[in-house]
């Protein structure tokens, strides 16, 4: 501060040299005052401008301080010359005020300046933070971009199922995304010992470079699932001829797993040790000073995995297409084979049908003519010859039938003719057929039909009879002496399970029952080891004794098939040669339901055990003058269910005959009885055609003359006495159907 004159109160007059100094002081004070006044103005102006300034009142204080300082300096201007007391007072006031304010301000600044400083620090801090966030933001953006690239790449890769396209696309997209100079793929060769350069980005057709697979750098890459930086000088990375002065860019290698079809087992994860890998090489542009960033490496790894999956899908698809093609081929081949087989079967059936007819026709001729020959006058040698011819033809006929049956059975085209039949009568007929042969051999045959065996059954009558006949026939054939017993009964469940047929578990039900037939003979027996062979075609036991008994060996085979068709089982038991043999079979038969009685509309007057009554209520007149023979024939007709009226004399016959009688049986060969006249008379009695009865002549000799005579008088049929039940039955059937029988 300039010293003031008043304080010193010096008496010294003013120097003229001091005038210069005073002038300068004067000017300086003036400018200081100016400055002091303008500073607050500036401050106010700028603070008003800025919105954020926390310490306004400090500003006021500061402004006041400065203004007062300025005022002081201003007032100082007047103190350079002599001045009045007022000025001195004003000056003093100003200075006091200034002093007060400046002290206050000084005190205030102690508080304020640290605050201001800390504001600055905070600002610094925030700036740093902002910078950091910026960086992180950059990172996220990059990652998101990477993700987008991966998705895009994956989409591209997965949009095709063709291997080559997949790989090519991968390289192209990677090259584009990462701005690579070169990108290449090395695939393992078939031997697995080398890697071959398969695809590159820039080079069009990579020539077959190969590197051995066990290089350390390759092992390094294969052993980790990360992208690994490798040296640009390693053999896998030397893909392009580099002009010397360029610094090659950084190279990264990553493994691409090649998953095989066999890896995709349901229960276990792919074995890591058996994986094959391909190698992908990525090269940054040379001389670019670019570095591989982490996010780029991540991208590469993800892409490599995606490529592996896409390749596997492509491989699976290829496999499945190949498998489908193979299947189609096989289908075609199978179809062809099936059609061929069908053709073959049809050809065989056609052949058999033709042969059947062709073979049977001559057979019939032979048999028929031989039988006829047998009836003529022959010398004993001739008779013997004819008999042999007949026997052989019968055998041949049987053989033909058997073979044809068997072939039908074998190809499964044989079906059972199911019908209701009389079970008891089957056995009786078999017995009748076998009795003559058995009696010649002095064998006794007994039949035992157990009480609860149903009389009627539903099944294939013809084939059941064939089976029974065959079995019984065998028993007779192979027994030289002794007895044969046939037993038939309903098989009970507990005795159905036989140790000899362990997997046969028949279950009777309400509709079915199992018929068990045992035929025991005391003949030559069979050794146990031969038993299984019996049912095979064309096999015969080797014993000489049985060799001569004929038979083609097909019989039992056919029986077995019939029995099987009837859901049954057949087997033989024998304790050994010479100890006889028991043949047992079980077949399933249906139980006749009463609603199936369409065949028998009338309840027959005779009891149900009577056998097939084919002609219920047929009214018949019988004329025979021989009492015995009359009784026998009557019994026969009654057995067949007819209503029989008998007469012994012609006149009686004429008297009795009425339109109710459908058939008249006349004995025409009794001497003294002119059957022919009687027949004529009967005819004349009935003028209306439909009332005329059918006339059948019974005679002891059927020769052409008799037949002619009968036909002349209008007799409808001739039968030779004695007549069997079956013959009578069939005759009546034929007669009623055709009204004629010759």
């Amino acid at each position: 501060m300039a010293f003031t004159m008043e304080s010193c109160n010096c008496i010294d007059p003013q120097w003229p040299a001091d005038e210069l100094l005073m002038k300068y002081q004067y000017i300086s004070d003036f400018f200081i005052a100016l400055a002091y006044f303008s500073i607050p103005l500036e401050l106010i102006y700028f603070v008003k401008k800025s919105a954020v300034f926390p310490y306004r009142w400090v500003l006021v204080q500061f402004g006041a301080f400065i203004v007062l300082c300025g005022a002081t300096h201003l007032i100082n201007l007047w103190t350079f010359t002599t001045h009045s007391k007022t000025v001195a007072i004003v000056m003093t006031t100003a200075k006091v005020l200034t002093a007060a304010v400046s002290c206050a301000t000084a005190l205030m600044l102690v508080h304020i300046i640290p605050d201001l400083l800390s504001v600055k620090t905070r600002e610094m801090f925030l700036k740093n933070k902002a910078a950091e966030l910026d960086r992180e933001m950059g990172l996220i953006l990059t990652q998101e971009e990477t993700g987008r690239h991966v998705r895009m790449l994956t989409h591209e890769i997965r949009s095709t199922l063709d291997r080559h396209t997949i790989l090519k696309t991968t390289l192209v997209e990677l090259g584009r995304t990462l701005a690579l100079e070169e990108c290449a793929l090395w695939m393992p060769t078939r031997t697995g010992l080398e890697l071959q350069l398969s695809y590159t980005l820039r080079q069009q057709n990579p020539v077959g470079y190969t590197v051995p697979i066990h290089l350390p750098v390759i092992n390094q890459v294969f052993s980790s699932n990360h992208a690994v930086k490798i040296s640009p000088n390693s053999p896998v990375a030397r893909l392009r001829p580099l002009p010397g002065k360029y610094m090659p860019g950084e190279v990264v290698a990553v493994r691409v797993p090649l998953l095989h079809l066999s890896n995709f087992q349901i229960d276990d994860w792919p074995e890591l040790s058996t994986k094959r890998y391909a190698l992908m090489i990525l090269m940054l542009p040379s001389d670019s000073a670019r570095q591989w960033h982490d996010h780029e490496l991540d991208l590469v790894e993800v892409v490599a995995d995606q490529v592996a999956v896409a390749l596997s899908h492509a491989a699976i698809l290829e496999e499945s297409m190949r498998a489908r093609d193979l299947l189609m081929e096989q289908n075609v081949a199978l179809d062809l084979a099936r059609r061929e087989a069908e053709t073959a079967v049809r050809a065989r059936n056609d052949f058999l049908a033709v042969m059947n007819h062709e073979m049977r026709t001559p057979m019939h001729a032979i048999i028929a003519l031989s039988s006829l020959l047998q009836e003529t006058e022959l010398t004993p040698e001739q008779r013997l010859m004819v008999e042999t011819i007949l026997k052989s033809s019968y055998l041949l006929d049987t053989l033909i039938n058997d073979v044809l049956d068997l072939s039908k059975l074998e190809d499964g085209s044989l079906q059972l003719d199911i019908g209701t039949f009389n079970l008891h009568s089957i056995f009786k007929e078999v017995l009748n057929l076998i009795k003559p042969v058995a009696s010649v051999k002095k064998l006794s045959v007994t039949l035992n039909l157990v009480q609860d065996l149903p009389v009627y059954a539903v099944g294939d009558e013809k084939r059941l009879m064939q089976t029974v006949l065959n079995v019984v026939g065998n028993a007779v054939k192979f027994s030289k002496e002794g007895s044969i017993s046939i037993t038939a009964f309903v098989a009970k469940p507990d005795c159905l399970r036989d140790s000899r047929a362990p997997d046969f578990f028949p279950v009777p039900s309400d509709d079915h029952f199992y018929l068990r037939v045992q035929v025991k003979d005391s003949g030559s027996g069979i050794s146990p080891q031969d038993i299984p062979k019996l049912f095979t075609k064309f096999s015969q036991t080797q014993s000489l004794a049985t060799r001569n008994s004929g038979g083609s060996g097909l019989g039992l085979a056919i029986c077995k098939r019939f029995v099987n068709l009837m859901e049954g089982h057949i087997w033989l038991d024998s304790e050994g040669p010479g100890k006889g043999c028991t043949a047992i079979f079980i077949v399933k038969l249906g139980i006749r339901r009463l609603s199936n009685e369409s065949k028998f509309p009338f309840a027959p007057k005779v009891s149900a055990n009577h056998g097939l009554t084919n002609f219920p209520g047929l009214k018949v007149l019988l004329m025979d003058n021989n009492g015995v023979s009359r009784t026998v024939t009557r019994g026969l007709l009654v057995h067949l269910g007819c209503e029989v009226t008998t007469v012994g004399l012609s006149e009686e016959c004429l008297r009795v005959v009425s339109h109710e009688h459908q058939v008249v049986f006349l004995d025409v060969c009794a001497p003294g009885v002119d059957g022919y006249e009687l027949a004529v008379a009967i005819h004349e009695k009935f003028t209306v055609r439909h009332e005329k009865p059918l006339i059948v002549a019974l005679t002891g000799d059927t020769d052409e003359v008799t037949k002619e005579n009968c036909a002349r008088v209008g007799i409808n049929g001739v039968i030779m006495k004695p007549v069997s039940v079956d013959k009578m039955r069939s005759i009546l059937a034929e007669l009623l159907e055709h009204r004629v029988l010759y």
Binding site: P436, S607, N626, G635, L636, C669, P671, G700, V725
Partner: protein, 150 residues
């Protein structure tokens, strides 16, 4: 049960022997077939009838052949009847003799006829006794509770 089986066997054996020796033929089987529950004694009835008829015929034949002048036609008629009856029940041997008898009748051979008459009487008595034995065994069997094997 053993007794029944034995009787059955006996019956069967006996019947078989009758067939074998030619006394009976297939026609007898036919007769047996006609026998059933509704007609349980058919065979016996027919055979009895045969016996009656045969005795009558044999008497007639004897009478006819004793005549001074033999009426061969009548003889033939009787023999024819006899042949018919025997064939109806299956008495084979009787029937055969009848056939031979008829031949002699046609030839009007008295010697032959007489011889045949003897023969036929012999055969008839044979078959009669056999059949009677058969029926006896059957009766025994039924009495023992068995059934006739068919």
């Amino acid at each position: 049960m053993d007794g029944v089986a034995q009787l059955q066997k006996q019956l069967v054996d006996y019947t078989a022997s009758l067939f074998q020796e030619g006394f009976l033929d297939e026609q007898f089987n036919q007769l047996q077939q006609l026998q059933d529950e509704s007609n349980p004694d058919f065979v016996v009835e027919v055979v009895s009838l045969f016996f009656e008829d045969s005795e009558r015929l044999l008497n007639e034949l004897a009478k006819a052949l004793e005549q001074k002048t033999i009426d061969f036609r009548k003889v033939d008629a009787h023999v024819h009847q006899f042949k018919g009856s025997s064939s109806s029940i299956g008495a084979q041997r009787v029937q055969k003799v009848c056939i031979a008898f008829r031949n002699y009748c046609e030839e009007q051979n008295i010697e032959g006829c007489l011889k045949c008459l003897q023969q036929v009487k012999h055969e008839y008595s044979l078959v009669k006794s056999k059949l009677e034995t058969l029926f006896k065994i059957e009766k025994q069997l039924i009495a023992a509770g068995g059934s006739i094997p068919t």
